[in-house]
Amino acid sequence: MNYHWNWGIFLEQVKGGDETYLNWLFTGLGWTLAVALSAWLIALAIGIVIGTLRTAPSKGLAWFATTWVELFRNIPLLVQMFLWFFVVPELLPREWSLWVKQDLPAKEFITATLCLGLFTSARVAEQVRAGIQSLSRGQTMAGLAVGFTLAQTYRYVILPMAFRIIIPPLTSEFMNIFKNSSVAFAIGVMELTFQARQMQEDSEQGIETYLAVTVLYFICAFIANRGMAFLEQRTRVPGFIASAK
C-alpha cells in the first residue's frame, strides 16, 4: 500500500482560505448535531401522534396514520431529500415557491431537517404503535371502567406505560438519526459527510479525513446511546420492566 501519511493535516490551512481543516470538521459536526437533534424533535412530536392514531377506533384516522407510515417508509431517504428540495417548492403557489427558492434562510438546513424529521416520524410511529399494542387490553378496560374517557385513558394509563416500554427501540432510532443525517450532504448541508468529501478532495489525505469523521460519528452515537440509557433508568417503573442491561 503506497500512501503518504500526514497526521498534521488537520492543523494545516485549507487551500485558498484561512481556516484549518479542523475548522471544517467542527463546522460539519455542528451541522450534523443541528440537523439530527431538530429532526429528532419533529420525529418525536409527529411520531407520537401518528403512532397513537394508528390504534384509534376511528377507521378514517387509522387509515390516515397507516398511509403516512407507508408513504415515508417505502421511499429511500435520499429520494425524499430530492423530493423536498427540488419538487415540493414547485408544488407551492407561485409567490411562495419564489420565496422558498430565493429568500428562505438556511434553505438546505430547513429542508433536510424537515425531510429527516418526517422520515423518522414514520419509524417512531411504528414503535409507539407497537408499545401501545404490547399492553394488555385490560389496561384500557380498567381505564374506561373507572370512568375515564378514551382520551384520558390514553393520557394517564396507556401512553405513560407505552413510552417506557419503547425506550430501547427508540434508542436505536435516536442513534440512526445521526447516521441518517449524513444523507443531507446531497442537498448541500455542510454536515460531517459533506466536509469529509470536501476535505478529502482538497487535502488528498483521505484516510486521515475519514478516520476523524468516523470517530466523530462514533462519539455522537455513543453519547446518544448513554443519554437514552440514563433516561431509561430514570423512568423505569419498579418491578415492571426488567430491561436493565
Binding site: 421511499i75 429520494v79 442513534m175 449524513s182
Partner: protein, 223 residues
C-alpha cells in the same frame, strides 16, 4: 392546482430504456448484496456464537463497527481504500457491490444470530447424540430452521437494502436514482423524473412489504 397541469409526463416514455438500465443496476446490486450478505452474515453469526473467543470477538467487533458508522461513510471508505490496497483503480459499480455485501453482512448476521438462537439447544445436543459433526448439525438441523424462522425479517432487511442502494449516488454509480437525475437534466424536467423514480421505489418496496406481512402470518416459529 396549476402544478399538475404543468407536469409534462411525455418525457417519461422516451427515457424509459435509460431508467431501465439504472433500475437493472439497482436490482442487481440488491440481489448480489443480499445473497453475499446472507452467506457472509451466517458465517459471522456462527463465528460470534463460536466457543473460540478470539474468533467470536473479531466477528462481534466487525458487526458493531459496521452498525455504528453511517452507510454513506462506509461507501466512501471502501471507494477510497480498495484501490489503495489492490493498486488498481476500481469503478464505482464494482466498489458499490463489494461495499454493500460487506456492510449488509453485519446486519444479516444479527438476524441470523437471533435465528440460530431461536432453535432450542436440545436439538443441537440431539444432533451430537446421534453422532453428527458440528457442520452436519448446523447444516441439517439448525440453519434450515433458523433461516425459515427469520425469513420475514431477512426480507424486511432486503427492502431496507434496496432503498439504501440509492446512496451509491455519493460515488456516482449509475443506479435508478442517478439515471433519473441524468434523464431529468437531459430533458430539463427534473421534477417529473424525481417523482417517477420515487414512484418506482415506492411500488417495489410497498409490494415487497405486503409480501412480508403475508409471510409473517404463514410462518409461525415452531418450537
Amino acid at each position: 392546482m396549476s402544478f399538475f397541469t404543468e407536469l409534462d409526463v411525455s418525457v417519461i416514455a422516451p427515457s424509459l430504456p435509460f431508467l431501465w438500465t439504472g433500475l437493472k443496476f439497482t436490482v442487481t446490486l440488491t440481489l448480489i448484496a443480499m445473497s453475499g450478505g446472507i452467506i457472509l452474515g451466517t458465517l459471522l453469526a456462527l463465528a460470534r456464537l463460536s466457543p473460540f473467543s478470539p474468533l467470536a470477538m473479531a466477528a462481534s467487533w466487525y458487526v458493531n463497527l459496521m452498525r455504528s458508522i453511517p452507510l454513506l461513510m462506509v461507501i466512501l471508505w471502501f471507494f477510497l481504500i480498495i484501490p489503495l490496497i489492490t493498486g488498481y483503480p476500481m469503478g464505482a459499480e464494482t466498489s458499490a457491490i463489494i461495499t454493500f455485501t460487506a456492510f449488509e453482512a453485519a446486519y444479516y448476521s444479527e438476524i441470523m444470530r437471533a435465528g440460530i438462537q431461536s432453535v432450542p439447544r436440545g436439538q443441537v445436543f440431539a444432533g451430537q447424540a446421534i453422532g453428527m459433526t458440528y457442520a452436519q448439525t448446523m447444516g441439517h438441523i439448525v440453519l434450515p430452521q433458523a433461516f425459515r424462522n427469520m425469513l420475514p425479517v431477512l426480507l424486511t432487511q432486503t427492502i431496507i437494502l434496496f432503498q439504501d442502494t440509492s446512496l451509491v449516488y455519493a460515488i456516482g454509480a449509475k443506479d435508478l436514482l442517478k439515471a433519473a437525475e441524468i434523464a431529468g437534466k437531459n430533458y430539463n424536467r427534473p421534477v417529473e423524473m424525481y417523482i417517477f423514480a420515487a414512484l418506482i421505489y415506492f411500488v417495489i418496496c410497498f409490494s415487497l412489504s405486503r409480501l412480508v406481512k403475508h409471510l409473517q402470518s404463514r410462518i409461525a416459529i415452531i418450537r
